[in-house]
């Protein structure tokens, strides 16, 4: 076992608790999670912080981790088919471009995410919406 420790911020609420993960780099699995000393959490965690990490090993309990881009090639209602990243990116780009041309940029809506992705990904999403698509139609699930 090759163990390393990484400190990060808990993703389960706005308290922003610091967690220290121990990882087995050989198997790429989390071994342990313990509270770290953060400004807000002072070495404490709640149940989600202590025990909310085993989803990451895709345990197939509630839903399956998505590990490949998928497209409904046969249109609405057809089966989702796994495709390559190149195909998926091009497919999205083509369709969005088509809709933008036909109905204008304000016919497209994008969301950021108040959950796992982080600030940089949100910045990129709103920049994409505003600079590439050309609309301010970007929002996120702040009101949930």
């Amino acid at each position: 076992m090759a163990l390393k420790q990484v400190q990060t911020t808990c993703a389960y609420c706005g308290a922003g608790c610091q967690i220290m993960f121990t990882v087995d780099t050989a198997t790429n699995k989390i071994v342990n999670a313990v509270p770290a000393m953060g400004r807000t959490n002072q070495g404490t965690l709640c149940l989600k912080g202590h025990y909310g990490w085993d989803f990451i090993n895709d345990p197939q309990i509630l839903t399956k981790r998505i590990t490949s881009p998928m497209i409904r090639k046969g249109g609405k209602g057809s089966r989702l088919e796994e495709v390559s990243w190149d195909e998926a990116i091009q497919y999205v780009a083509d369709n969005l471009t088509k809709i933008k041309k036909k109905y204008g940029p304000d016919s497209i809506m994008c969301t950021g995410s108040a959950r796992g992705p982080g600030n940089e990904a949100n910045y990129i999403m709103q920049k994409f919406t505003r600079a590439c698509i050309g609309t301010n139609n970007v929002d996120h699930c702040a009101r949930v």
């Binding site: 911020t9 922003g16 149940l47 909310g52 989803f55 981790r65 989702l80 016919s107 970007v138």
Partner: protein, 568 residues
């Protein structure tokens, strides 16, 4: 929040309004408990006996949907009994007289008829709040998730203004933001009216700055709020305003948005739906394209916690084969559409954005490493600028530097109880599950602790009337939809009111919630009030069979192979 989470435990008085930290942020509730242990006075306004209400010196158990009447009445007492901080009002605020005109009507006796809180209790709470050397207001979704929400926030702000409770340690007003990075998504401009750093899209000088930075012409038209999407798809007649494509990133509106049926209809009608997520979810079932991103623990970055604190997140594990970093996916699509975006890593993105946002400019990765947590505003890259704990010190962020008084008359919720649907229904939080539960529902012990079909919290007297016992399966129904869940008979809720948490597939309360009554400013739906009826299910065995079969079938749709797995 205008203050820091760590300051809560040093408060002399905490006025906790519609905020249930014990279930939504246990580690913030910990500070409230510590404050109480250190001698703080606690006032709690909540229709339920929450953990905070339980330890409060005064608990105002108001009827749901009457928030502003209660706040106005407290302001009325403070005004009539001369408990105001006149010097603060004279020097640092505007619009006091207009505000007083509104609150005059809200005597505690009048408010009692609306809120069902005894007038003397309102007086007692108002006096306690006004006389405390410093007082902190914490509020949560119990304030925000109503058709009349922003009014209440402003009224609470006015209560703090009239007593001079700003700009000193352990004072002010704190919206304790729910999700881990809701503050961050707002900070980053994932909002229809703001660029990153709360810079308004309608201001020409701001538009010009971003056009220059991004090298492209930008729109100055405020965009569509998320909660308007179903209406813009299903009902909008003006072709220019109709939505045709929806790129959903790290969200599950079918589960989390009100009136699930309406959301499903909208997704079906849209020409093109992209879902970028880590797990299969109910929204992904309507996607034309699914793009697998990375999970928390698989990427680097920064989150903003509820008190404006930037903190690093770090890659703990290598992501599985086949997925891509979220920002990489978006950059590649953008590039394929002709607007080139390319970055080496999150730090490069971060550096671009903090240079565009004066309030974030000083919070470099190097400083985040060094200090661990930086509360914005942090304007200078110099090591000496460690951020700002308390906002509004000296002057307010308004253009004239003054605090603005405002309140409004009470408006009842849109959909009230009636003969057919005699109970009220409000959505609340489940402590062991996060959001739509695709992550925590896949965690073994958290699933063990609470699982389908969830609970509906009801007063024992209401249960008795219906002949149902704690633990019985019941049907909850109103004109928009229905679901099946378990009865949780508890004296912690008032007669006539019911409460459900929103992450269950079977006990899915968003089949019933109301999507049309949005706050006019924040566009937040009225998750906290609609009507419903609870029905007894005579054949419990059959009902359990329905729950188990349905659970199994949804899990199968979500890609779980049920072979060898026991039914729930």
């Amino acid at each position: 929040m205008t203050m820091g989470v760590h300051e809560i435990e040093d408060a002399k008085l905490i006025f906790n309004f519609g905020y249930n930290g014990a279930d939504s942020h246990p580690i913030v509730q910990r500070r409230i408990v510590r404050a109480k242990q250190k001698g703080a006075t606690i006032i709690c306004a909540d229709p339920r006996v929450t953990e905070c209400a339980r330890i409060a010196d005064v608990h105002m158990q108001l009827k749901g949907g009457t928030n502003i009447a209660l706040v106005n009445a407290m302001c009325n007492v403070v005004y009539n009994e001369g408990l105001v901080d006149q010097k603060f009002i004279d020097e640092k605020t505007v619009d006091y007289d207009a505000f007083v005109e509104v609150i005059k009507k809200y005597t505690p006796e009048y408010a009692e008829t609306i809120c069902h809180v005894p007038a003397e209790t309102i007086r007692k709470a108002a006096r306690m709040y006004a006389k405390a050397p410093s007082a902190m207001i914490l509020y949560g979704m119990g304030v925000c998730q109503f058709g009349q929400a922003v009014d209440v926030v402003k009224a609470l702000g006015s209560l703090a203004l009239m007593t001079g409770n700003y700009g000193k340690p352990a004072s002010g007003i704190g919206p304790v933001r729910g999700q881990n990075n809701v503050q961050g998504a707002c900070d980053m401009g994932a909002l229809p009216n703001n660029y990153p750093g709360y810079q308004n899209v309608t201001k020409p000088e701001i538009q010009e700055k971003f056009e220059k930075a991004w090298g492209v012409k930008l729109s100055n038209k405020v965009g569509v709020p998320l909660t308007h999407v179903p209406q813009r798809v299903l009902e909008e007649k003006d072709p220019k305003k109709q939505l045709h494509a929806y790129y959903i990133f790290g969200e599950d509106p079918v589960q989390s948005d009100p009136d699930a049926e309406e959301v499903r209809e909208a997704l079906e009608k849209l020409d093109f739906v992209v879902v970028q997520d880590i797990f299969m979810n109910k929204t992904a079932e309507f996607a034309d394209v699914i793009l697998p991103g990375t999970s928390w623990n698989e990427h680097d970055g920064v989150y903003s916690c509820c008190d404006r604190g930037f903190q690093r997140i770090r890659k703990v594990l290598e992501p599985p084969k086949g997925v891509k970093l979220d920002w990489e996916i978006i950059c590649e699509i953008s590039t394929a559409m002709g607007y080139k975006m390319k970055y080496k890593n999150t730090e490069e993105i971060w550096n671009e954005l903090i240079d565009l946002c004066p309030n974030f400019a000083g919070a470099t990765y190097a400083k985040l490493e060094k200090y661990g947590n930086i509360q914005w505003p942090c304007r200078s890259k110099d090591d000496s600028d460690k951020g700002t704990v308390v906002l509004h010190q000296g002057k307010f962020a308004n253009p004239d530097g003054k605090g603005k008084f405002y309140t409004a008359d009470w408006r009842p919720p849109q959909e009230l109880e009636n003969e057919e649907y005699p109970l009220s229904l409000s959505t609340v939080r489940e402590v062991g599950h996060y959001s739509v539960r695709t992550m925590t529902g896949n965690c073994r012990t958290l699933r063990n602790l609470e699982d389908e079909p969830g609970w509906i919290q009801m007063n024992p007297a209401d249960c008795e009337k219906l002949g149902i016992k704690h633990g019985d399966l019941v049907k909850v129904v109103n004109k928009r939809g229905w679901c099946i869940t378990r009865c949780n008979a508890t004296e912690r809720v008032a007669k006539g009111a019911t409460y459900m948490t929103y992450q269950w597939w079977i006990g899915c309360c968003n089949e019933l919630t109301i999507g049309s009554n949005l706050d006019p400013v924040s566009n937040t739906p009225e998750y906290k009030y609609c009507n419903c009826r609870v029905e007894k299910l005579d054949d419990q065995a059959k009902a359990w069979e329905y729950v188990n079969t349905e659970y199994k079938s949804i899990r199968e749709r979500m890609g779980i192979k049920m072979v060898g797995k026991e039914a729930v």
